[in-house]
Amino acid sequence: MHLLLDNYQKIPRLVDMRADDDAHAPSPDPVLRLRGVGKDFFGTSVLREIDLDLYPGQVHALVGENGAGKSTLMKVIAGVHRPETGTVELDGAPVSFPTPLDAQHAGVATVFQEFNLLPDRSVAENVYLGREPLRRGTVDRRRLHADTTRLLDDLGLTGITPWTRVGSLSVAQQQVVEIVKAVSYDARIISMDEPTAALADQEVALLYELVRRLRDRGVAILYVSHRLQEIYDLADTITVLKDGNHMLTAPAGEVSPDRLVSTMVGRDFAGFFPDRPADLVPGEVRLALAGSGNTMVDGIDLEVRAGEIVALAGLQGSGRTEIAHGVFGIAPFTRGRMTVDGQPVQVRTPRQGVRHRLALVTEDRKSEGLALGQTVLANARLVLDAVLPRASDRRARAVPGVLTSLDVAASTVAAARDAEVQYLSGGNQQKVVLAKWLVTEPRVIVLDEPTRGIDVGAKRAVYDLMRTLTADGAAVLLISSELPEVVAMADRILVVRDGRIAGELPGGSDETAVMALATGAA
């Protein structure tokens, strides 16, 4: 989030959508009022004494680190969780939603991060799923499409047609369909959980526009986001949670970004990125690609030296991840040459990649990195067990030390044998993924979005690790959408566009230069 704090000062706002104070003066009565809400899980309180008021026609931003309780609070409002203490009032009357469906019918809609859409059905079928208009016992497709068209038109969404298959839409458009679905229930309150998390920068504008229209229609919006810029662009009011406590609620105009961040984190941001060691000179070439390509990327030339961090920057879908998958044998290169430590290698499977002491921290740790129902230790041993079974027991003894070096709390390390990974925070989960690779002592480590969705402390641990790895002579290939991270951490930046390397920039380059190359504006 600090990254976006940097952005906030540099990048001009796309659109200023904060409600004009006169036009949207808070009406005296909130549509939703929470008082003293508390929630426990297994005897641990994750929310304590939360007060929250949502007013019609206002955007209320909910911010905090991972694990601060934002998602839990949203789920309380959505009827997924029932609070142990406190009251929820809708239009002044106390309510308790037994199920999310009851909340939906009462006009309280929630758009979660995970989409609940059927990819093989049309937009209209998804929006009206389970309550399609009927005519003589069968679905009245004409009315279904007419209703959906009206909804889309009302919201100014001209780019989406009701009969389009949802699976063929972009992620941003799918996000919009989720919101349209919420609107179709005549929702008066819509909460959105990091709606831009999966969106590329150029797609965010679509969402902004939609939020603005909903607000103008008098919908109360609860907006959860990690991105400061969005919060200041959209929110009228900001509430900060930290460790389940209600820290602050104030008009957006009265909270400076600095104060917001220090309230969230409880510390300041100065010197957030560890400095590049001055005496570290890149050594031998560890990984080299020459003319590598497959069906998704082509003509990739790159070198990463021992002690060097090379970043692959670019827009989502530009082919950065595909290069990583090519290197690691998930989607092998079919053309070109690849060498590791000067030796020509063929990596057709991840297994061969591990054998050449490559490591890949995948973009999506939950679906590609971890077996969530297994213990921390079992996950930290995944690679050892899979590829080096004979050395597994001996090398696994390093796991507690590695986790500790990644700044994992002692109690969590102590419970590694028993605790299932699914119950850890995002940051700790990511550290387990890192640990499973570190115990293999990789020579080349590819990090694909290593700080996505993790809290500030864990981010810092990842950056420190990158410095430690390079100091020990490993080569790091960093893939990231967070430009400040790319610019501050990388020695060299390769910008990927349309499956090819569009250019190279030195570390510390201006973010706008990277963006210009990535978008083809340069």
Partner: protein, 328 residues
Amino acid sequence: MTLTAETSRTARPWRERLLSGGSWTVLALLVLILAVIVVINPSFAEPMSLMAFAKKTAPLVVLAVGQYFVIVSGEFDLSVGSLVGAQVVIAARLMDGDEALTWPVLGLMLVFGLLVGLVNGLVTTLLRVPSFITTLGMMLVLFGAIRLWTGGAPTGALSESFRVLGRKGFPDVPGQFQVPYALLVALVVVGLAVVLMRRPFGRSLVAAGDNAVAVAYSGASVWWLRTRAFLLSSFLATVAAVLIGGFAGVTAQVGQGLEFMAITAVVLGGVALGGGRGTVIAAMVGALTLEALFTLFNQLALPSTVRPAVQGVILIAAVAYAARRRRT
């Protein structure tokens, strides 16, 4: 949330680690059923009756352990019942009571069993046919092929030495207390399985049932992991065939329905369908519970025809119970 909070709700006591998930419920159920049997028929608690019960249950325990490997990796093996039947019929016909052929035939059974497992595994993993279909097909193929080969009625006989494992025990004095060999075989199988699951192979297998992509991206060959699970299942079905052949002899019905008993036992033990969760011990307890239940039915003089219906209800109830637990 704080890190201490995180661990306090995740640390599992040793009891959980041993059995995992809802397995303590089934252990309680087993004790309850045994207690009811003893109340109805106090002589069941005598050592000789208990050993008889162990002897009868041993093959199911062995089959359940085999099924466990496959289920925990996220697959099914419906072919084990037919395989047991095929193995017994093949053995009887080939050796026809000839002691000298005992060992060669056992060797052949081993090869045949592993071949069936290999085909199950490779068709499932490499041809990507869901194991439910692969092993259902294998079940029909084995069933049909054996009928074809024997003309419908099994012929021949098992040699005496072949039948020792399933029938005898030590000390081998008729009418006296003895520990059945079948019990020892089952204990060895369970012991080795427990050890295997604590090895890299076992951990990778469970993890593959949990998230095959993550395991593959960690460098495992998931197809070979799962194929080995099918090999183990078929191998243990062969062991079970030796025990069952020894215990019950050769009939046309031998092995029938055992695949569903094994699956019911494993699921009853709280091993998750779809993989990734459950222990060998839990599968064993499930098998004991199922047999104990059938013993109880005998004590209550219920007709044996009631078994399939009860088994079906147990299967559905156990899965429903597990699904409910996971939701809340």
